[in-house]
Amino acid sequence: MHISVNVDGVTYADEVEPRLLLVHYLRERLGKTGTVVGCDTGNCGACTVHLDGHSVKSCQMFAVQANGHEITTIEGLARDGKLHPVQEAFRTNHALQCGFCTPGMIMQAIDLLADEPDPDDETVRKGLEGNLCRCTGYQNIVRAVQDAAQRMKPGAGPKIEQHSDEHVTAKQPVGGE
């Protein structure tokens, strides 16, 4: 089937098998290996991406279902070489060890913060319950999301970092390393 999908700001037109999962499309066709596969069954959330600004588990969707939509992956978050505040918060709060869950956690956390810009501990936990981490015991992940919320508060940083969920979905090719 023919699909046209915008991924991290670039529109791709492709022929795909109807049964091709979105995560495999991203990884194997587009080389977006930052989105990883942890369980195949929708339990672990490592493959979480945004579809039109909202988090989805990309192993639970077919590529054809993304036709006409915008996908943002972990690789599309940084701007002009600068990390998204949630990425920065995960890095500086030791919210990762092996890092395999990190892309999905970050994508889920951004979606969570769009709904709850100043979440308490319980709200963060509830928002991340679909994402498994085996290394950290989640303590620093919860801390990082709350730290990110502070970094993203209006007036808390340079304008470019003041994303709402909507703005996170890239409209243009993502610049620079």
């Binding site: 990884r27 080389g31 977006k32 290996t33 930052g34 989105t35 990883v36 596969v37 942890g38 369980c39 195949d40 069954t41 339990n43 672990c44 490592a46 992956t73 972990i74 690789e75 978050l77 940084a78 990390l83 990425q87 920065e88 995960f90 890095r91 500086t92 030791h94 990762l96 060890q97 092996c98 890092g99 395999f100 869950c101 990190t102 892309p103 970050i106 501990d121 319980e122 963060v124 936990r125 509830k126 991340l128 319950e129 679909g130 994402n131 498994l132 981490c133 085996r134 290394c135 950290t136 015991g137 989640y138 303590q139 620093n140 992940i141 919860v142």
Partner: protein, 728 residues
Amino acid sequence: MTLTPAELTSAVSGGIGTSPQRPDGNLKVRGEFAYASDLWHEDMIWGATLRSPHPYARITSVDITEALKVPGVYAVLTADDVPGRNLYGLEHKDQPVLAVDVVRYQGEPIALVGADHPETALRAMKKIVVTYEVLEPVVDMETAVDDTPLHPGGNLVRHVPIRRGSQDVTAEVVVTGRYEVGMQDQAFLGPESGLAVPASDGSVDLYIATQWLHVDRDQIAAALGLPQEQVRLTLSGVGGAFGGREDLSMQVHACLLALHTGKPVKMVYNREESFYGHVHRHPAVLYYEHGADHTGKLVYVRTRMYLDGGAYASSTPAVVANAATLGVGPYEVDNVTVDAYGVYTNNPPCGAMRGFGAVQAGFAYESQMDKLAEALGMSPVDVRVRNAMTEGSVMPTGQVVDSAAPVAQLLKLVQDKPLPAGTSSDIRELPGGVSNTTHGEGVVRRVGYAVGIKNICFSEGYDDYSTARVRVSMVNGSLSAAVHTAACEVGQGLVTIMQQIVRTELGIERVTVLPMDTTIGNGGSTSASRQTYVTGGAVKAACALVRDKLAGRTDIGDEVIDETTEWRHRATEAIDPVTGQGNAHVQYGFAAHRAVVDVDVDLGLVRVVALDCAQDVGKALNPQAVVGQIQGGSAQGLGLAVMEEIQTSGGKVRNPSFTDYLIPTVLDMPPMSIDVLELADPHAPYGIRGVGEPPTISSTPAIVAAIRAATGLALTRVPVRPEHLTGT
């Protein structure tokens, strides 16, 4: 002039005792860190593994004719295609690379397919015809030794006896129990993956997620019939390990396919195959008898324990030795009788997982201590403190503990922590959560304590060392260092620790960690909580050699100072095969937990409300990383307490997926309060004490103790399931 580390610590930032950012953190948050599953090579093909559906069967024929005819298939290989020794194993070479005549567990590899696409490989695999004569599997660890022999030497892998003091002394108060520990999975999030690239001279490069490059290499080379130098390994990104990558999975398979087809071969397991593709934590049955006087002082401990090694030995001998030598826990006991048995069965092979034998014993001896406290009318903390080991205490092996053993202090630290606020009225915070199963009725809150002991580094006379190379040169007018080892970074943060050590030792801020590979000597295994100790020790020693040549200079012009050295911890001894006596271990680590749980006693639902920990780490080289290990280790202990088990029936795995094998989510894991003690071990580099494993040991029994207190039930098996609490 030679600067001392103390003088240098203040010279540059990011040295030991601080928490600098991980060097791989930036790549990991950007999604640019290359895990083994992300590897790609022009012209590569995909490997797949045909596995046995039966736990025990004779293979009467394997017909690959039709599979070979599938368009896009490059090779179909069986045991006949293994050019070298078709047996491998960490301690006993008993496991075939590909099965010959018999399969001993469900999931045992029989044939390999190399094809142009993973789906082609799957189609071809379905056309391989294997005929089996299905045999009755041996599945009971307690009777396995007298059952059908699965290996030429019978089903006993190792018996470790310990005899210390009187074997027939009696006591005023006696408690006995039989305990069971279910089979836990490491459940690392990044499934097994690797890429083998053949070279024109018949050699091979393997890029792999593993815990121990050199022992992988040695086993691969033997199986391929190649000299070791013709098998080169490079560590790729590892998505967690926890012991599950200490054995080979597809390492030989990928290399076989690559050498056979002349093409690069990628293999990636999915989650289901991952459950079949690596060893698990040994399930165990443990019988204990504790005798004490009326003051609570232990008079004797006697135990008989069985650990199910499954179809192949893996690291079973060492796991059994740990369970035995640490079998009374962190307590002083003069009279000890231990018989620990590791056995073969047709269950999934078991080997290393965080805690390694100490977890199984820990659940049982801590359950016994609670039972003893109850029998004596003492508090659980008091009975533990009454018997707590200290520096100078003698282990059941006769080994004198010759550095800090602050067992009582750790218990008191967790005991003195503030308790969480009372049971919530918010249903989201009650057992059952948003399932809205209770508004507080039937919910009982109780507290449980536990403390554990773990040996750090390899034991029993093993020559445990690591190799480090440190190179210093001028870059842009200032000194720059590179550090190279074969010690595997699996997520724990060794890469950061190595940078910190170099900064502290040499006063050089810019430190590059080179890729880990087999072009340098053995780094030893990333297991036994040993890498900071042993590879850290090697990096420190290499820095000392570099520092001598640097001689205080800050400009060395075009000179390159390049030093490589091996470093080993002090020697250990084998234990006596009859009495179990001997200085078997290098170092002991201790952690204590206090768990607070809410239990809905009507429905059997449990919510762990708090899980606080105190641990002695000797010296926290990176405090943030140390705390991260304690948090992650505690979470895995929580998993074993209330949810994690690979369930088998007749040797078959019933739940090989994350839908049915549950690991703790963020809602299952409560906030933790952690105390880190730094009581230096004078024998260890910087005084450090291995960190990774101790918190996994005491977490489980503390939670179960709290559930017991809430329900009044004996709860002798982990994981505790709702039906254990409701009797349904």
